[in-house]
């Protein structure tokens, strides 16, 4: 109900929670600071790191108290004449006063990172977060949008460098951002354009010295840059949430190609943590098996320990159970390099651990990893076998399956038949 006797509330430019200037007030202040004949002042953009986790774990009242206290710390680090604004959520901006040098701006940015990295005591709870800060680097005649973009790119770089730090805008960040954007665009098109292919690396039974399967490895046949390994594009695919779609394609394609092999060998396919978050993996696998006619036991799904951790709140166990019911094998990849506890491993229906390549050259680590696998009743695969000594060592340890350049490099799907044929000839000889 509006009271006709009261004038309409003045348009506010104050953030209610923190008492800082709000986004609108900040944009006004920025416009005023850039109006001729003024030179662009340094601008800082700041994000709190791990703020969401605080909200999730301690609840919104503590999250709000954190924002208020963080705002106080930011204000305590700047001078009269500097504008501190909350742009929304856990994003803040500091517009430094005219005449602030770049060195002073950097000092303030570092001080902010220091202050916000100190523990917070909120309603008796100790909360630790951090912050990342991006600094613009003024250029003559720059407008508000460009100044914000500069600081934003610098903030992105600060986060990419590991958070908890400040970074100043550099022209190369613009190039990197453009390259990344191009990559993202091309990546979005790669699936519909059919530019992904699978290569297959042999898995050898170490006792029988015979190929028993292949691990499917994703490659991108990039129109300009040739065949790209996953490291060149999967981080971006994860960032823009393309991984579930790409992962589903890998499952379909891997099953289809494996079903066409001349021998009933196994295919191992990697599944990323992001493919587990919406609970659709069992249905996707079931469809891939049905479409291809590949029997469930010929498919082995590999997940890393991170999949067990990253999927917080998601029913990973139930999905694994359903896969196991289809006869699909489950393997834990990069075993020993993640953070999963033994207790956690025991809870999931794994049949196999893949011992990380970093252990293969170290007999003691190899023994330890094998021991854990055996104690949990799991079969073992050793990755990264590149030298005859590795092969002898893992065979001596009783490892069941080996994989690595010495045994066989990844090959195109079309090369599998000749490879198996050659092996047969060799065995017959």
């Amino acid at each position: 109900m509006t009271d006709p006797l009261r004038p309409p509330a003045a348009v506010t430019t104050v953030d209610h929670l923190t008492g800082l200037t709000d986004r609108r007030g900040f944009m006004d202040a920025l416009a005023a600071a850039l109006a001729p004949p003024h030179e662009a002042p340094p601008l800082l953009l700041l994000d709190l790191d791990r703020f969401k986790a605080v909200n999730d774990v301690h609840g919104h009242p503590v999250g709000d108290a954190l924002l208020v206290t963080a705002a106080g710390r930011i204000r305590s680090a700047v001078r009269r004449g500097d504008v501190v604004a909350r742009l929304g959520g856990d994003e803040f901006a500091v517009l430094l006063g005219a005449g602030t040098t770049d060195a002073e701006a950097m000092r303030i940015a570092d001080r902010l990172v220091d202050l916000l990295g100190r523990p917070f005591l909120l309603e008796g709870r100790v909360v630790q977060i951090g912050s990342s800060v991006g600094l613009s680097s003024a250029a003559p005649g720059i407008d508000a949008a460009a100044l914000i973009k500069q600081a934003d790119l610098a903030l992105y770089a600060a986060k990419a460098r590991g958070r908890g730090r400040a970074a100043r805008f550099e022209a190369s960040m613009q190039d990197a951002a453009e390259a990344r954007m191009t990559l993202e665009m091309e990546l979005r098109a790669a699936l519909p354009l059919g530019q992904f292919v699978l290569h297959y690396q042999p898995l050898m039974d170490l006792k029988a010295r015979q190929t028993v399967g292949f691990e499917a490895l994703l490659r991108w046949q990039h129109p300009g840059r040739g065949l790209l390994a996953p490291g060149a594009f999967l981080p971006v695919a994860e960032e823009v949430n393309l991984m579930p779609a790409i992962g589903a394609w890998v499952l379909r394609q891997g099953c289809r190609e494996a079903a066409a092999w001349t021998a009933p060998l196994k295919v191992s396919i990697n599944v990323a943590p992001s493919q587990l978050v919406d609970g659709t993996l069992p249905a996707i696998v079931a469809a891939a098996l049905a479409e291809s006619g590949l029997p469930g036991p010929r498919l082995e799904i590999e997940v890393t320990e991170n999949a067990l951790i990253d999927a917080g709140g998601v029913d990973v166990h139930g999905q694994f159970q359903r896969l196991a019911e289809m006869g699909v094998m489950l393997a834990l990849d990069d075993f020993g390099t993640g953070f999963a506890s033994l207790a956690q491993l025991g809870r999931y229906p794994f049949q196999r651990v893949k011992i990380d390549r970093s252990f293969v050259a170290d007999p003691r680590m190899m023994q330890a990893a094998m021991g854990v696998g055996r104690a949990l009743g799991l079969k073992t695969t050793a990755e990264g076998i590149e030298e005859a000594t590795h092969l002898a060592a893992v065979t001596g340890e009783g490892c069941e399956i080996g994989q690595g350049y010495l045994i066989g490099r990844p090959m195109a799907a079309a090369a599998i038949s000749p490879f198996l044929h050659a092996e047969e000839q060799h065995d017959a000889a």
């Binding site: 710390r73 305590s76 100190r118 523990p119 917070f120 005591l121 909120l122 008796g124």
Partner: protein, 140 residues
């Protein structure tokens, strides 16, 4: 009713306090502010680090600690203890300086920040050390 007391103990790296005069000034202003906020506690300092206990009503400890957190004269704050408590351990001190006690001063003078952090000196241990030192020093 006695449960509304809160106690905090931390160690930090000394990055700005170098002599007795500066310490005296800090203590004087701390005592004034703490007395007003109903906060009591103890402080120890050497060239490298601080150790401090703050106790009082939780909101008061929160706000005094938050002010201390913004102080550029120290950094790398590590909280060793944050607990509710039925009573105060330093009821007579707005901010005791445990270094008045020669023995505590000597023991603490040997402590390096890196060692303190490494040994993860327990909060309760620090608390009883400060308490002992303060016990030997009569309230001013």
């Amino acid at each position: 009713m006695p449960h509304d007391l809160f106690r905090l103990a931390y160690i930090s790296r000394n990055t700005g306090l170098s002599d007795a005069a500066e310490l005296d000034a800090l203590l004087a202003s701390a005592r004034r502010a703490n007395a007003q906020a109903d906060v009591t506690g103890a402080l120890l300092f050497n060239r490298e680090c601080f150790a401090q206990v703050l106790e009082g009503p939780m909101p008061a400890v929160n706000s005094v600690f938050e002010r201390i957190q913004r102080d550029p004269r120290h950094g790398d704050v590590i909280i060793l203890l944050a607990e509710n408590s039925p009573g105060r351990r330093f009821p007579d001190w707005a901010m005791a300086y445990a270094g008045e006690d020669p023995e505590a001063r000597e023991r603490f003078a040997e402590m390096r920040f890196a060692d303190l952090r490494q040994s993860a000196v327990a909060g309760t241990e620090l608390l009883s050390m400060l308490e002992q030192a303060v016990g030997r020093t009569l309230p001013a």
